[in-house]
């Protein structure tokens, strides 16, 4: 592994391939992109099925079970239904923005997968600024959502779009800061390196970091309790209210790809990625992704939604200080106590983490009051 190559370097990427992989770099690029997109879509379909079945169980019902065994093909039936619907563009819409919005939302999510290692070496580009690339691109999705809200010229949409922007600014900072702890421990921004550095999963060394990252990622994928952007009971569907047919399908795919992405990232950053005993590494990654997603679904099916001001107060006053303290503690440990045994660190960080979160959550009140008019 060449360690000090910066940025996008085809040679470097080529070197991560198994030696008997056919063709040159560009052939590899083409084949692997197709594999990746197939992987994403297959996982999205599995996630949709998984979520619907799981939510069904949470809601004392069965969930979809008619199409195929255990309702496995329900998602495919849904896709066929969505794609055959009429594609309606509102008369007063900003046509160009309206057309571009689904693409702007979908493409960056797919691009992020380029740096997510599916197993050792199974990665399109092993960027050594991988984390920065992930954060930069996944924020672009919000631009797509804002474009959708603006372009459809609908009042509900614009409220949803404005909420998304407020949300982006609020959660992105704690999210990034929580990853810095992981980066400090690893000493690298490359996602493969982060996985290799996890002799014990970072969730044990960085419990606060995991906590903040997980909540931040819920906000990033607009999942409950941060689904303000498409709050069904308030603004009906928010930004995608005017979208139908294949454009809606693109948004839907973007949303679920983001869920897949965030599950994969959580698994990679905190749960040890592809590493694990006995089973093949790729399967381990999938298992961890499904575990993370099950947690997301659990939260979705049980928690009510934050109000927008409460959500921002939560991000700025609760998550951000926690992320900063986590960063400080991690840096102190690395500078002053680098030789500490990891299990002591695990115990200490859990003790500190649980105390901090409990104490903080007792004193923190999201509040929000009536505005004088």
């Amino acid at each position: 592994m060449q360690a000090n190559v910066t940025g996008f370097n085809p040679t470097f990427a080529y070197n991560t391939l198994p030696p008997d992989w056919p063709g040159n770099f560009w052939l590899h690029w083409l084949i692997f992109t197709i594999i990746l997109i197939a992987f994403i879509i297959a996982t999205v379909i599995m996630f949709i099925w998984f979520e619907r079945r799981l939510i069904g169980r949470f809601q004392i019902r069965l969930g979809p079970n008619r199409v195929g065994p255990f309702g496995l093909f329900q998602a495919i039936a849904d896709v066929v239904k969505i794609l055959t619907k009429e594609d309606i563009v509102p008369q007063k819409a900003d046509k160009v923005v309206f057309w571009l919005a689904p693409l702007v939302a979908l493409v960056p999510v797919l691009m992020v997968f380029a740096v997510v290692p599916l197993q050792s070496g199974a990665i399109l580009v092993d960027l050594d600024i991988g984390i920065l690339y992930v954060l930069a691109l996944s924020s672009i999705v919000s631009i797509g959502i804002f474009m959708a809200g603006w372009g459809s010229n609908n009042k509900y949409s614009i409220i949803g779009a404005m909420r998304d922007v407020a949300q982006l600014i609020s959660y992105e900072i704690p999210l990034v800061l929580s990853i810095v702890g992981v980066v400090l421990l690893t000493g690298s921004l490359s996602l493969s390196e982060i996985v290799r550095a996890q002799n014990i999963p970072f969730i044990l060394l960085q419990p606060i970091g995991f906590f903040v990252f997980f909540i931040g990622s819920l906000a990033e994928i607009n999942r409950c309790p941060f689904d303000l952007v498409e709050a069904e009971s308030e603004i009906i569907a928010g930004y995608n209210i005017e979208f139908s047919g294949s454009k809606f399908a693109a948004f839907f795919l973007a949303e679920y790809s983001e869920a897949v992405l965030l599950s994969a990232l959580t698994a990679t950053l905190f749960l040890g990625g592809w590493s694990g005993p006995l089973l093949p590494p790729f399967l381990w990654l999938l298992i961890k992704m499904f575990a993370v997603f099950a947690l997301i679904v659990w939260i979705r099916s049980t928690l009510p939604r934050f109000r927008i001001d409460q959500m921002m107060a939560f991000a700025w006053k609760f998550l951000l200080p926690l992320a900063l303290i986590n960063l400080l503690l991690t840096s102190l440990q690395i500078v002053f106590w680098p030789e500490a045994s990891s299990w002591i660190i695990v115990l200490l960080s859990f003790a500190i983490g649980i105390t901090l979160i409990l104490v903080w959550s007792k004193s923190f009140k999201p509040g929000g009051n009536k505005v004088g008019i």
Partner: protein, 368 residues
């Protein structure tokens, strides 16, 4: 520095909107997310029930009352038949009085379960509390089906009693329900009211002060949540309610949380009343002899009950014919709705939905 001109914008919540519990429309003027003004617009479900009632005879009007608050039909039958009984001076057998109270209290539990479930839905939980509330509501609806064959619009009460006596298996099933229901209520209350997000969304939101509550004539759980101990079952006791022991739960400041809490506690009190009613239930007739072509003597009568949503009253004027000369319905949903504007101004858009949900209206009753 250039100051950009901003202006409030008007948004139409409804009539087709997931959280308006029907076809209610709300014109809201917003400054960003903050609500500057709202204007409720009603009438999308107007069927002219009061007018239709004038064209049919007294007995034919009973099914019409089912269509008012269609999630609490039993409670709608009761004040209408009480008003007619007052007009025509019909005596009701004791067993029938007890059956009416059993039905009304079961209906109160069913209606409050629905209210709490849909409030949770308005808060943004993805249907899970709603499904659990409906599981319990199903058991009550099954019991209603047992006595009158219907699951939504019961048409069960008659002048001078109720249409059928209860089947033999009803009381054991009801006892089972009564013994298990407190456990479910506690469980759901624990799951909901110990959730920090839910508390943050409900506490202090949409406050209805005591004076305003009294002045705007609201009733039912909304009034009691504002700290007024007013329950028709106590202050103007009807039927045989004076034979039961129960408390009137009240709130403190009249926010959404108090309204939620009053409903939860009222369900417990209803279970308590049901327990006593099963014990005291006498044997005997359930329907007095009343002429099918009832012609009450001329005059007027008003009967009101404590329906799940508030004071439901029927005002009837008779001109000694087969048909009522005039029927007026005091619909609690409509009158409770009048306080909505004062409750939500200055709050966020999301709070409007929650406050609206916490009032618990039924559009069938608002528009009539």
């Amino acid at each position: 520095m250039v100051t950009l001109k901003t202006e409030p914008f008007v948004i139409n919540l409804g009539p087709v909107h997931p959280s308006t519990h029907g076809v209610f429309r709300l014109r809201a003027t917003l400054d960003g997310e903050v609500v500057l003004d709202i204007e409720p617009i009603i009438g999308y479900l107007h069927r002219g029930i009061e007018k239709i009632a004038e064209g049919r005879n007294y007995k034919q009007d009973i099914p019409l009352t089912d269509r008012l608050d269609y999630v609490a039909s039993m409670s709608n039958n009761l004040p209408y038949v009480m008003a007619v009984e007052k007009l025509a001076e019909i005596a009701v057998p004791e067993r029938a009085e007890y059956l009416r109270i059993i039905m009304a209290e079961m209906q109160r539990i069913a209606s409050h379960l629905l209210a709490v479930g849909s409030l949770a839905n308005d808060l943004g939980t993805f249907f899970t509390p709603f499904q659990y509330m409906f599981r319990e509501r199903e058991k009550i609806v099954d019991l209603f089906e047992m006595v009158c064959g219907q699951r939504l619009l019961y048409n069960y009460m008659r002048f001078g009693g109720v249409s059928h006596d209860i089947p033999d298996e009803f009381i054991p099933a009801l006892s089972k329900l009564v013994s298990t229901m407190p456990g479910f209520i506690d469980e759901y209350d624990q799951l909901l009211a110990e959730n920090e997000i839910l508390l943050a969304r409900l506490k202090g939101v949409g406050i209805l002060p005591k004076e305003l509550a009294i002045n705007s004539s609201v009733s039912g759980p909304v009034l009691r949540a504002s700290g007024v101990e007013w329950d028709i079952r106590k202050v103007d006791s009807y039927s045989v309610y004076d034979r039961f022991k129960f408390d009137i739960p009240t709130g403190v400041i009249g926010d959404c949380y108090d309204r939620y809490r009053v409903r939860i506690q009222e369900m417990r009190q209803s279970v308590h009343i049901l327990e006593q009613a099963i014990e005291q239930l006498p044997a005997g007739e359930v329907l007095a002899k009343v002429s099918p072509r009832l012609k009450p003597p001329g005059g007027e009568a008003y009967a009101h009950i404590e329906a799940p949503k508030g004071e439901l009253g029927f005002y009837l004027v008779s001109d000694n014919s087969e048909k009522p000369y005039r029927m007026h319905i005091r619909a609690p949903s409509l009158i409770n709705l009048t306080a909505l504007r004062e409750m939500v101004i200055g709050w966020k858009l999301a709070d409007v939905i929650v406050t609206f949900g916490s009032i618990d209206i039924c559009l069938g009753e608002v528009d009539r």
